[in-house]
């Protein structure tokens, strides 16, 4: 009975029977709604933790970082503006920054081996954490990445997963600075165009 007659601004996407989007949830969180925050956690934790684990290899450290990420999402959510980008993109940006910062801060031995070796480290995960829609979208993202040239992909992933500047990427790959830069930039923009508008 408490549900009826609530002003639209309050009810918003939380109406009975209507699943809120991540963006709805994040906006509720921005109003200090702890209940929405719990739901947001349930929706996004495995995805964000997946990225953090990829960047921060040490599992205990990765768990610390993911907790920090969620606290930062909680604190910063009042600034989330749905008209300026997707909730997922906003949260991944926070997760990436925290993860890269942490890796940079810990001693070099804990950093992932500098030889770029992505796939064999793929962590196991609980498939129940993933919704069907998410999986379809993740598949599309992966295939968009697969559509980059090998060189673009190598440079983009090296920069992203290790938080390297294009100068460092150039060093690592032994290619000229301008080349590194254009590979990364072109790769990113191509990726965005491949999936643009649907996130």
């Amino acid at each position: 009975m408490l549900v009826t007659g609530v002003p639209p601004a309050t009810m918003d996407a939380m109406s009975v029977g209507e699943a809120p989007t991540l963006s709805d949830l994040l906006q509720q969180v921005g109003q200090g709604d702890e209940h929405a925050f719990a739901r947001l956690y349930d929706e996004a934790a495995a995805r964000l933790h997946g990225l953090v684990c990829r960047v921060v290899v040490d599992r205990a450290l990765a768990e610390e970082v993911t907790q920090e990420v969620f606290l930062e999402i909680w604190r910063g959510s009042p600034s989330f503006d749905a008209s300026r980008g997707s909730a997922l993109s906003w949260m991944f940006t926070i997760a990436h920054r925290k993860a890269v910062d942490r890796v940079r801060a810990v001693d070099a031995s804990r950093r992932r081996d500098t030889t770029y070796s992505a796939e064999q480290n793929a962590p196991s995960y609980d498939s129940t954490a993933e919704l069907v829609d998410d999986r379809m979208r993740a598949d599309r993202v992966r295939s968009a990445i697969g559509a980059l040239t090998d060189r673009q992909r190598e440079a983009v992933e090296l920069a992203y997963f290790e938080g390297l500047s294009h100068t460092e990427v150039a060093d690592r790959l032994g290619i000229p600075l301008g080349t590194a830069k254009s590979r990364i930039r072109d790769g990113l923009l191509r990726l965005r165009d491949a999936l643009g508008g649907e996130s």
Binding site: V6, P7, H35, Y41, R75, S89, Y125, H166
Partner: protein, 241 residues
């Protein structure tokens, strides 16, 4: 752009800048729409790479610690660079000024102070209990103070913690709200009532909003779902300072 005037948006989007560099870049971004646009474009794409990673479920215990940490952590005001702060929709403002002075007077008249209870408010859509930890965070705070008001055989207990900035309220000994009605809590801040959420009898509830700056808390009976402004006189209220 890499010339001296602008920042390296690529390194910025890859989080490749050190702390000093990032702070400098953030400062530039506040003033430069061109770099802001570039960064936003690039970050849309970098987030996609993030999405491509395989999900990993964190340990179940993380959920509780994250939620508990959030419950005791205040949020930042909306200030992120380039993002407009939230603006009230046009036409919303005039509604709130319906003679708060008069309402306050009524509140004072209705106020019957006794000793002892605690009350809580729930958000309208919140069917289940507020997280226990959130209530406990307030009640167990070192500076928690309990104030009770009574009327009509029932009581209102408010436990407020200035350090947490929150209050927990409980209605005791009150009948359920009449059909089509609900109990609604209000903070009185700057002389004006601000909704603090709904209450159900005998259920401790963390009140919506901050206790900081509130001089009193009051309970009214409102149409189910709550009102934006009180439509009836308070049945009970407590002083918070």
């Amino acid at each position: 752009m890499t010339d001296d005037k602008h920042i390296d948006t690529l390194d910025y989007a890859m989080d490749a800048l050190d702390e000093v560099g990032r702070r400098r870049a953030d400062q530039h971004l506040r003033e430069c729409a061109q770099c802001r646009t570039e960064v936003a474009e690039l970050q849309d794409a970098t987030a996609l790479i993030g999405e491509s990673t395989t999900p990993v479920s964190p340990p179940p215990s993380m959920r509780d610690s994250v939620l508990a940490a959030a419950a005791r952590t205040p949020q930042h005001p909306p200030t992120a660079q380039g993002r407009p702060t939230r603006v009230e929709p046009a036409g919303a403002a005039p509604r709130r000024r319906n003679r708060p002075g008069q309402w306050l007077l009524a509140a004072a008249a209705a106020l019957v102070l006794i000793a002892g209870g605690v009350t809580v408010a729930t958000k309208p859509w919140q069917q289940d209990k507020a997280p226990v930890s959130a209530v406990q965070q307030v009640e167990q705070a070192p500076d928690a103070r309990s104030t009770t008001a009574s009327a009509d055989g029932g009581s209102l207990v408010v436990v407020a913690s200035a350090s947490r900035g929150k209050a927990v309220a409980t209605l005791r000994g009150m009948p359920p709200a009449p059909a089509g009605k609900t109990y609604q809590a209000w903070f009185i801040s700057g002389g004006k009532p601000v909704s603090a959420g709904m209450l159900e009898p005998d259920k401790a509830t963390v009140l919506d909003g901050s206790v900081t700056g509130a001089s009193a808390a009051a309970i009214t009976v409102e149409p189910a779902g709550g009102s934006q402004q009180p439509t009836s006189k308070p049945i009970m209220s407590v002083t918070l300072t």
